[in-house]
């Protein structure tokens, strides 16, 4: 029998890694991917809880999270491409239009 | 409940913003049409307000009051009286005309008109608000679009000018807010309502009044602007695009003066009395100093900007007099300065569009080349220098006449300022229109119909008020009389 605690530790690890990526990646696509990692970590937790209590809501939520993540990614990438067209860069620290 | 005409006026531009946002930015023509329509509707409503206004009554009219934030006794309270009616009309008129003058703004028209309409709402709200908190909110709403309008569509040093304007005004409004909060906590029961505060104004101790007055003074003085807080003005005016300069000079400066009329004087009359002499001296310094500095300018727009400093001095002088004549003159001068200097800035813009320079030394002899423009420039210049028959004269005359019994020496110094005023205005005319023609401009084109549309109404108003000024006094007189009575009554 697998240990739920271990799964949750694993989820925390993935979360931390994703966060690290979101913090350090210069490439906006990299940031997006890191965010996917974070979302996955959340999903793992949800599913683990569903398993723990035998409740279906966790899984249902995970499905919704996947759906939302898909939407977020689509829009994020579209913005990215639009920005790339204008700014010719995908590096987040170069996109400083709002900076004075 | 009455028909909420004031809210309608104030928020028509917001409706315009929503409409503009719905239009794709490529469709600049439609955006312009919508913006013009929004400002035009506001103008029509403003005219309707003028017609519906009861001129015999100097008290607040068309009042709208709804609770907004109950905990702090803040309400959404609008109203109009003789003090604000002319300002509201000036705002909707200049906004409409400057909107037409904005057609040639280069690039990002959608953003431009959104910010522009937001600016109009802010200005109208400031003049209509009867709650200090609401007043402050609108006051700050003006600031933000102005910052972007100067900072994005401005001239070569636009960033510097925009930041300077923003920081300067913000610094002032922080003090103003402090003053408001002090008033709130001292009033009993705590209230931000201007009318309530006016009623209870006898209760404030003189020391408290002085402190609050100075705090408000800083906020308003920067906006007016009063020497030595005026240096943001030439930079902002010169760098701002033409229509924004018009609004800056025509309306924004009036917000400071209006603050004195609406808040400082009725709520803090004893402090106002205490500060009358310094204010009169500052007024004279504004008049004389502004005129002298204007004389040294070779940049057309900067000259007009400094002439604004000079003209606003008459407002201060009239305020300081605390007589009905002087206060009427001051309020009238605010209106006239709006129309005349607004027109001057439009004319600078017309010339700049054709020559791409504002250097007065590079013009000359244009009078023969573009006679219609020359005629308009002459009329507005003469209005600005205070020629009788045009409105500027009447208001300056009234403020001086009202001040003379109170401060003789100061008035005499101020009157001698009209010589310097005449001198730099005539130098301006000579450098632009007279003398031998500079061959660079031999192909210069005459003012076009769109530009005429923006200028002729202003000229008509200037002429009308110059020839029949009592009409304006009918409008503002009762309210000013009430104010003076109130201030005088509290002093006795």
């Amino acid at each position: 029998m697998i240990s739920i605690t271990h799964v949750m530790l694993f989820s925390a690890l993935i979360f931390a890694i994703g966060l690290y990526g979101a913090l350090t990646r210069r490439n906006a696509i990299g940031i997006l991917m890191s965010i996917e990692l974070i979302l996955n970590a959340a999903n793992i937790n949800l599913v683990a809880m569903a398993r723990l209590w035998g409740d279906k809501s966790g899984i249902l939520f995970a499905v919704f999270v996947i759906g939302t993540a898909a939407a977020a990614t689509i829009v994020g990438l579209a913005i990215l491409i639009a920005v790339y067209r204008n700014a010719k860069t995908v590096y987040a620290d170069r996109i400083n239009l709002l900076r004075w | 409940m009455n028909f909420p005409i004031l809210s309608l006026i104030a928020f028509t531009p917001i409706a315009g913003i929503l409409a503009v946002l719905a239009v794709p930015k490529k469709n600049e023509k439609l955006i312009r049409v919508i913006a013009t329509a929004a400002t035009g509707i506001a103008l029509l409503l403003g005219i309707g307000l003028m017609l519906a206004y009861n001129y015999r009554d100097g008290a607040m009219q068309f009042v709208e009051k709804y609770t907004w934030i109950k905990t702090f006794n803040i309400s959404y309270h609008l109203g109009v009286d003789g003090l604000s009616l002319s300002m509201v009309f000036l705002t909707v008129l200049l906004c409409f005309l400057a909107c037409i003058a904005s057609y040639r703004i280069e690039g990002r028209q959608k953003e431009y008109f959104v910010l522009y309409l937001l600016l109009e709402t802010g200005m109208l709200g400031t003049f209509l608000a009867l709650d200090l908190f609401l007043f402050y909110v609108f006051w700050e709403v003006v600031l933000v679009p102005m910052y972007f309008l100067i900072g994005i569509w401005g001239g070569p040093r636009k960033e510097y000018a925009a930041i300077k304007f923003f920081l300067y005004t913000l610094a002032g409004s922080v003090f103003m807010l402090l003053g408001f909060i002090a008033l709130y906590f001292t009033s009993n029961p705590h209230t931000f309502d201007i009318l309530e505060l006016q009623k209870g104004s006898g209760g404030f101790a003189i020391g408290f009044q002085q402190i609050v007055f100075m705090a408000l003074f800083l906020g308003f003085a920067i906006k007016v602007p009063i020497f030595p807080f005026h240096t943001w003005l030439p930079d902002a005016h010169v760098e701002a695009p033409t229509p924004i300069s018009v609004l800056l000079a025509g309306v924004l400066l009036k917000m400071g003066g209006y603050g004195f009329f609406r808040i400082s004087y009725p709520i803090l009359p004893e402090a106002a009395k205490w500060f009358a002499l310094p204010l009169a001296i500052l007024g004279v310094v504004n008049i004389i100093y502004g005129a002298f500095v204007a004389m040294a300018q070779i940049d057309f727009k900067k000259l007009v900007a400094y002439s604004s400093v000079s003209h606003m001095g008459f407002v201060l002088l009239g305020l300081a007099s605390m007589t009905a004549t002087g206060m009427n003159g001051a309020l009238f001068q605010m209106f006239n300065h709006g129309t005349i200097t607004g027109g001057m800035f439009l004319l600078v813009g017309v010339l700049y569009d054709r020559t791409h320079t504002r250097d007065l030394k590079s013009f000359g002899g244009l009078g023969a080349q573009i006679p219609v423009y020359a005629g308009l420039l002459t009329v507005f210049t003469m209005g600005s220098l205070g020629l009788p028959g045009l409105s500027g004269f009447v208001s300056e005359f009234l403020s001086l006449l009202g001040t003379f019994p109170v401060f003789q020496v100061i008035t005499i110094i101020a009157v001698s300022g009209i010589v310097v005023t005449a001198a730099y205005h005539l130098m301006l005319l000579q450098r632009v229109l007279l003398g031998p023609l500079n061959v660079r401009w031999k192909d210069i084109t005459e003012i076009n119909r769109r530009e005429l549309v923006t200028l002729v109404p202003l000229m008509a108003i200037t002429l009308f008020l110059g020839l029949y000024p009592i009409s304006m006094l009918y409008l503002q007189g009762p309210s000013v009389a009430m104010l003076v009575e109130k201030v005088k009554g509290l002093l006795v």
Partner: protein, 639 residues
């Protein structure tokens, strides 16, 4: 008969509107519009005059402005003085506009010229009809601006543009005085109406009253080109000659005299003010008369002559000669307008203004020359021409006032007047042409007919104030001073004639009989005097270095002050030694500006490190958010 005096100024106003709006379409017809308007004004003036004699006075008034809670009613004041001025202005104005159609026929801004002329007629007629100080001040300024437009009418010439500016600013200095005087009258009495002046004059505060009177006189000094503000009038000759005739000879410059006459109840109550008026007037008259002796530009001679004659009128008013001053105002208007128009005709014919290049053109321009000489005789005071009667009145009133210094100077001035006028006549019209290609020709009829009409007036207008008509004018326009019984009228009349004759005789001797040695000897003997006169007493230079330059400098330094950091701010900023290098850079930044920038720098300093927080990088912000989260979680964990 119709009696609508309030319509008098409105006709020219309509003409102005028509010409300024539709000038291009009207073309040459704009002259007709203007002339028709001023003819209508003249006709209405005459009808108002006739009605007045019959005892019916029309009045009209409307509220124009509220001052101190009471409305100021604008209305018209029809009395002897204003009627006289109305007639003079409208008749001369009409004649000069007729003349202008010929003189200005080739000008490319023909209709604009007539627009300005109409505007001037409107302003001047309204000024005359004003019934209160406020109204007169308004039209006072308006005639000033018309004068500005018309002087710099040929604005392509820098000299014309400068002259216009000079005229406007100089008169405005006087207007400052007028304004303060007006405010004082308001303050003292609360009433701006001329009809209340006798009551105002009863005010017990004599010092303030005198001050008010003198300040009002300042306005007259500016407008009537009296010493020390006379310098603009000679320069104003840059304008077209009809303008000089109408504005700078006959009407506008006389407005100052009119103002003093209008406020005479006030002046009469303040003897000190009257003394000031008298001395300013006579100093002006004498000084301008002497300068006119040496000037060589035909229009400038007339300009100085005008200043001198205006000084005469002012001095007469100052000496209590109310009737004399106003009478001279009327006669002078006619013959000086004639002189200017004649000069214009000469210039039109010979295309130069320098009298040293003219000569012997009598035969070629007979009408011009004849009328010019008539006017010269009139101004020299040769009986029975107009100038004789009025000048005689002035001398009598001066003598009667007992101020013999003034009388003496006035007498001397009248000799000078006769001399310089005939110096002009003899040099221009007689002898041989001094320039080879002087193709003089007579002007067209449209120009000569007005000359003849004016010549007619110059001869006969004086009779209305002469004993031949039982001094009708003296009874009509009077301030109750009565006839000067004390003065030996006959003697003075004789002396006055003698003065004119002496002046003409000297001129005849020098310029017709060619006693050239005499003036040369005089010139060598009194070189300094000649230099002084030819430089107009160095007034322009004095003003340039004493007023204009300092003001320009002041303006420059005000701007520098506004622009540059003053040391205090530098030091203040310098306290922050970290920014010493930047301070050096910003040495020439703005003063009050500097404060702002300094404040910004202070913030900069204080937040030197904290500023890095505001990187604008989202990831950076996120880092701090996470740091906060970690801290919160950690605190929660160990609790």
């Amino acid at each position: 008969m119709m009696n609508y005096p309030y319509l008098i100024p409105l006709f020219p106003l309509m003409a102005f509107a028509a010409n300024i709006l539709f000038g291009k379409k009207l073309g040459k017809k704009s002259a007709l519009v203007s002339i028709a308007a001023s003819t209508a004004s003249a006709a209405l003036s005459i009808s108002a005059f006739v009605n007045f004699l019959r005892g019916s006075v029309a009045s009209v008034s409307f509220a124009w402005l509220n001052v101190n809670g009471a409305p100021v009613m604008f209305g018209i004041l029809v009395d002897q003085l204003s009627l006289m001025m109305l007639l003079v202005v409208s008749v001369i104005g009409t004649l000069i506009q007729v003349y202008s159609t010929g003189y200005m026929s080739d000008d490319k801004r023909f209709s604009r010229f007539f627009a300005y002329m109409s505007l001037f007629m409107f302003s001047m007629l309204s000024l005359v009809l004003s019934n209160n100080f406020m109204m007169i001040y308004i039209f006072w300024e308006l005639v000033g601006v018309c004068s500005y437009f018309l002087i710099s009418f040929w604005f392509e010439k820098d000299s014309a543009a400068n002259a216009g500016k000079k005229a406007f600013i100089t008169t405005r200095i006087g207007d400052v005085g007028l304004f303060i005087g007006l405010a004082m009258i308001f303050w003292l009495s609360g009433s701006p109406y001329f009809s209340d002046l006798p009551a105002i004059a009863q005010n017990p505060d004599r010092v303030l009253l005198t001050a008010a009177a003198i300040l009002i006189f300042c306005g007259a000094v500016g407008k009537s080109a009296q010493f020390p503000l006379h310098v603009w009038l000679p320069d104003a000759m840059e304008g077209p000659t009809p303008v000089s005739a109408l504005i700078h000879a006959a009407t506008m410059v006389a407005a100052g005299v009119y103002l003093v006459a209008r406020c005479y109840p006030l002046f009469a109550a303040c003897p000190a003010a009257l003394v000031v008026v008298a001395y300013i007037g006579i100093v002006t008259a004498f000084m301008a008369g002497t300068i006119a002796l040496v000037v060589n530009d035909i229009k400038r001679i007339l300009a100085y002559s005008t200043i001198s004659q205006l000084g005469y009128m002012i001095a007469a008013l100052g000496c209590g000669g109310y009737t004399a001053g106003t009478f001279h105002l009327m006669t002078h208007a006619f013959f000086k307008a004639l002189l200017f128009l004649g000069a214009g005709s000469v210039i039109h014919g010979v295309h130069t203004q320098d009298i040293r290049q003219m000569g012997g053109i009598f035969s070629k321009m007979k009408i011009t020359a004849a009328t010019f000489i008539i006017a010269s005789l009139a101004i020299a005071g040769v009986p029975p021409l107009a100038g004789f009667w009025s000048k005689d009145e002035i001398l009598v009133s001066m003598f009667a006032s007992g101020n013999y210094v003034i009388f003496g100077l006035a007498y001397l001035t009248s000799i000078f007047t006769a001399f310089y006028m005939f110096r002009l006549c003899f040099i221009v019209f007689f002898g041989r042409p001094r320039k080879a290609d002087l193709h003089a020709h007579e002007s067209p009829a449209v120009m000569t007919v007005p000359l003849m009409v004016l010549a007619f007036f110059s001869i006969f207008i004086g009779l209305v104030g002469s004993p031949l008509m039982h001094n009708w004018f003296g009874h009509f326009v009077t301030f109750g001073e009565g006839h000067h019984g004390g003065a030996p009228a006959g003697l003075i009349m004789g002396a006055s004639v003698a003065a004119g004759v002496i002046g003409i005789a000297i001129a005849f001797a020098l310029y017709i009989l060619k006693w050239q040695l005499v003036p040369q000897a005089v010139r060598i003997r009194f070189t300094w005097l000649h230099t002084l006169l030819i430089n107009k007493y160095y007034m322009d230079e004095i003003y340039l270095s004493a007023i204009i330059r300092p003001i320009a400098l002041l303006s420059k330094y005000s701007f520098r002050f506004d622009k540059n950091l003053i040391d205090g701010v530098v030091n203040w900023t310098g306290l922050f030694s970290l920014f010493l290098s930047e301070v050096k850079n910003s040495f020439d930044k703005h003063v009050v500006d500097g404060l702002v920038n300094g404040a910004a720098k202070l913030v900069d300093l204080c937040s030197g490190h904290a500023r890095r927080l505001q990187t604008g990088l989202i990831q950076n912000y996120m880092l701090f958010i996470i740091a906060g989260l970690v801290i919160i979680l950690f605190v929660n964990l160990i609790r």
